[in-house]
């Protein structure tokens, strides 16, 4: 009964959006009720982001067909400014804050409170404090955004939207870069906002989150709206992970992690007295005197909260860390000081970064060029001229092996979906024929189907005698895929667990600084 009374604030009818050669949205419909949290779920490339870009005016009127009804009246936006004036705000995965400005300056960017010709500082401070309180973060309006963690930045984005009187808030993968604690915090704020009457569209790949927070769920697949609880709540039960996945991928997904028994092989890599110094404050260490042993034929999972030094460890091994590194690295019994990136690749140690767009790919280069970037020196005639046939062959071979979906090898990397981009970075590294593969958040922001494929690839590589080090913030992934788990906290290894002895509680206990026997 109550449901029927809940008003629909926003309705998208038959939205169709075409890109050259691709039908991105095919008659998609979407209804948002007042004050609800509505999860929009779908694989990468299903059309979620495109739909939200239509809604926010990034794809302006005329570039799509269909109707947007806001409170029952048709509206059309020609840019973001217009949609914001109608109370619609989008918070993107890639945060849009200016790092060198303060929190206050960011909050009011483009929306400054004026007093005559100058900015009304006092009013801005007042409003800033109020809104920061509302989103529950304790930072000074004068703090520089660059000094804040990613979770805090996320909240500042939300605060910024609230300052623009947003009534409909769209969150695109808001927790993708957050750790569990920060995510929990953010979800709590989202619940609060919805109680205050803000309607939220919540795009996420994390189904546990969706189930815990959403009032409604709409599922997109291949640019079509497949099912929504708003229309079919009686006929379809979406309220289980398994069912959501079934509609997302169009087939039932039995298991999320293809675990296979592995046989630990030889000792291949070890670190001794490994110490990293902070890149700016040279007296501070990020990692202090660490020792680590890696073996072939096993997946070594590295768990830990964000900022615990996991990524820094990986970049320091790979020669891309921005500060001083000391210690010894031993590969195949040959010991030396820290290596350069070139030397690492030559010795078969490669690193898939957590940030594929900024660190992994040259987005305006083609699929082929990206795939061969690390091995180009080997694909030459006389070490001088790139052998374009050999290059194409190699690119094609690995693109096929990793089932990268692309219209052609000449396609620019920017046009691939997230999952395919990630596979492309993986192809680049597998082409090196590495012996130690370090994966940093290998499945962040990619859909369930692509995740599963990446797990299977990891298993194949292990079978070939590679060692895989997998850093991940997703506990299920760490637990589901690792043969051995190391838990990081503040630059130290707090626990080294076999997969049989690990469980979520134990890992979180060590990751949050817990010490055995409860002496913490």
């Amino acid at each position: 009964m109550q449901e029927q009374q809940t008003k629909i604030v926003l309705e998208l009818q038959d939205i169709t959006k075409r890109f050259p050669g691709v039908l991105a949205l095919d008659n998609v419909s979407f209804k948002l009720r007042a004050g609800e949290i509505h999860a929009l779920v779908g694989e990468n490339g299903a059309g979620k982001s495109t739909l939200m870009k239509v809604l926010s005016g990034i794809y302006p009127k005329g570039s799509y067909s269909g109707t947007i009804l806001l409170h029952g009246t048709p509206v059309e936006f020609s840019d973001i400014k217009e949609s914001e004036q109608h109370g619609i705000a989008v918070i993107y995965q890639e945060l849009a804050l200016v790092p060198y400005l303060t929190v206050r300056q960011n909050l009011f960017l483009g929306n400054e409170r004026r007093k005559g010709l100058r900015i009304n500082d006092i009013e801005e401070y007042k409003l800033a404090q109020k809104v920061l309180e509302r989103v529950g973060i304790n930072v000074s309006p004068d703090a520089h955004v660059i000094d804040l963690g990613i979770g805090q930045q996320q909240l500042i984005e939300i605060a910024k939207a609230l300052l623009k009187q947003a009534k409909i808030l769209i969150l695109d993968e808001p927790t993708a870069a957050l750790n569990e604690q920060e995510s929990e915090n953010l979800l709590e704020i989202i619940r609060e906002l919805s109680k205050e009457g803000v309607s939220l569209v919540f795009i996420s790949h994390k189904l546990e989150e969706v189930l815990s927070i959403a009032d409604s769920i709409t599922i997109l697949r291949d640019g079509r709206s497949i099912v929504s609880t708003v229309d079919d709540d009686k006929t379809v039960n979406l309220w289980s992970e398994k069912n959501i996945i079934k509609y997302m991928v169009g087939r039932p997904m039995e298991q999320r992690f293809p675990r296979e028994p592995h046989n630990r092989g030889d000792h291949i890599l070890s670190l001794r007295n490994w110490t990293l110094y902070h890149s700016e404050r040279k007296d501070r260490t990020i990692i202090n005197n660490l020792s680590l042993d890696v073996f072939t034929g096993e997946v070594l999972g590295i768990a830990g909260l964000m900022g615990s030094g996991r990524t820094e460890l990986a970049t320091s091994i790979f020669g891309t860390y921005n500060g001083i590194v000391t210690g010894e690295i031993e590969i195949d019994g040959h010991s030396s000081g820290p290596l350069t990136t070139e030397a690492c690749i030559a010795k078969g140690i490669v690193y898939l970064t957590e940030d594929r767009k900024n660190l992994g790919l040259v987005l305006n280069m083609s699929v082929q060029e990206n795939s061969t970037l690390a091995v180009l020196g080997r694909l030459t005639r006389h070490g001088l001229v790139v052998d374009s046939f050999e290059e194409k062959k190699a690119a094609r071979k690995y693109c096929e092996e990793l089932t990268i979906k692309t219209p052609s090898l000449e396609q620019r990397a920017m046009n691939l979906s997230g999952g395919n981009q990630q596979k492309l970075v993986l192809a680049k590294w597998i082409m090196v024929e590495p012996r130690v593969l370090i994966l940093d958040e290998p499945t962040r922001g990619i859909d369930v189907g692509a995740k599963f494929e990446i797990y299977k690839i990891i298993n194949r590589l292990i079978e070939r005698g590679m060692a895989v080090i997998m850093i991940s913030s997703e506990l299920p992934e760490i637990l589901g895929m690792s043969d051995r788990i190391i838990v990081f906290h503040e630059g130290q290894i707090r626990a080294d667990l076999r997969h049989e002895e690990a469980d979520p509680e134990k890992v979180m206990f060590y990751a949050t600084g817990g010490i055995e026997n409860g002496k913490a």
Binding site: T341, Y351, N364, L376, G377, V386, S388
Partner: protein, 393 residues
């Protein structure tokens, strides 16, 4: 089964990739047409055409160097000063010390390489932005140039030197009414082009790669062959091909090769496209950046040599403001000012557009101030046009 689809895709990709160049050829044609009308046909004569090409040569050579600089995400503001300095070094050695042309030019190129190494060192190994390093270089090298010339014009250089900027390939048979050696050269180039294309086409088929349908491939080769013949037709009817154009031709071949066929070239594009991703792929960014500036120094000094040869003298003011023409050529030629994109052939066409505008305006007796205003606006509008077509996609 998939074949017609992928062939279509290939055709579309080839057209899309070269769209800028097709557009530029059209724009160049438009500019030529307008000037021909405005000058009552004076612009489009064999004599002026030859003249135009010779004026293009030194801009084109430096522009091909700066393309790599811009693609990698840098800039070089010192080009004008380096052009002047290198030319003065060559002229100085010849006029005051009687050095033969070959030695004098070699010394100038060496100076260019050293300048490039100097700037490259500060940019790649001391992490100072190229904008600052080359801004400092612009003043620094101009100062050295003034010191060397002592404000005097250095001349006369030998005939063998000025031939590089003013001379032509000699005829084989002087009695022949048309320029025979240029004709033979054209035939050889067209022949070589077609042979290479066909052999590449066959190799592609042998490797089971997707190729254009035979008819399209034929049309493509035919059009390029006609373009080459058209390009040299006027030269054959007049005095033949200038040495400077032969030089441009070889530099263009070499640099196209470097940009598209070598790992180094690929790395330049990768660094400009995403510096961090390049670093994380194990590319030695410092070495690549350093090499880019050494190459820039060498090409700027080669440009200076041609420029000096054309004027038969070197002076303290030589090359002042020349960087505008060079950078504008590269940008008009499709180089992305933010890095990651740009082609050698584009820079060539860009240089041709720039010098066509220079040449046409001079023919119309426009004064230097008006010319500068027009050139500034052309650069701005060209980039605006480029960006707005990109956005439409």
């Amino acid at each position: 089964m998939e074949k017609p689809d992928s062939v279509l895709l290939l055709v579309r990709e080839q057209i899309e990739r070269n769209l800028k160049q097709y557009m530029m050829v059209l724009i160049l044609g438009g500019i030529w047409l307008i000037f021909t009308i405005l000058t009552g046909g004076l612009f489009f004569t064999a004599r002026n055409y030859t003249n135009l090409l010779q004026q293009t040569a030194y801009t084109a050579i430096a522009a091909m160097g700066v393309v790599l600089v811009i693609v990698a995400g840098h800039i070089d503001l010192s080009i004008g000063s380096v052009v002047g300095l290198a030319g003065a070094v060559a002229a100085y050695l010849q006029v005051y010390h009687g050095m033969p042309t070959f030695i004098a030019i070699l010394a100038a190129l060496l100076v260019g390489a050293l300048i490039g190494a100097w700037q490259g060192y500060w940019i790649s190994y001391r992490n100072i932005p190229a904008f600052i390093v080359t801004l400092a270089g612009m003043t620094l090298f101009r100062g050295i140039l003034i010191y060397i010339t002592q404000g005097q014009t250095i001349s006369p250089i030998w005939d063998s030197f000025s031939a590089i900027g003013q001379g032509y390939l000699p005829k084989i048979n002087n009695a022949c009414r048309i320029h025979d050696s240029t004709l033979y050269l054209t035939v050889v180039v067209v022949f070589l082009y077609n042979i290479l294309q066909v052999s590449f086409y066959l190799r592609k088929q042998r490797n089971l790669l997707i190729t254009l349908p035979g008819a399209l491939q034929f049309i493509k080769q035919l059009l390029v062959s006609i373009a080459i013949i058209f390009f040299s037709g006027f030269l054959i009817l007049y005095r033949g091909i200038p040495y400077s154009i032969i030089l441009v031709f070889f530099v263009a071949l070499l640099y196209s090769f470097i940009a598209t066929k070598t790992p180094f070239g690929r790395y330049v594009y990768a660094i400009g496209g995403n510096r961090e991703a390049a670093r994380y792929s194990g590319i030695n960014i410092r070495k690549v950046n350093f090499s880019i500036f050494v190459s820039m120094g060498i090409l700027a000094s080669l440009s200076g040599v041609v420029f000096t040869a054309r004027l038969s003298s070197a002076a303290a003011s030589t090359g002042q403001g020349f960087e505008l023409d060079v950078i504008a050529s590269a940008i008009i030629g499709g180089a992305n000012p933010l890095g990651g994109e740009g082609t050698i052939i584009g820079a060539l066409l860009g240089a041709l557009i720039m010098s066509s505008i220079n040449n046409g305006m001079s023919l119309m007796n426009m004064s230097a101030d008006i010319q500068m205003i027009c050139k500034g606006l052309v650069l701005l509008i060209a980039v605006w046009f480029d960006l707005s077509t990109k956005n439409r996609k």
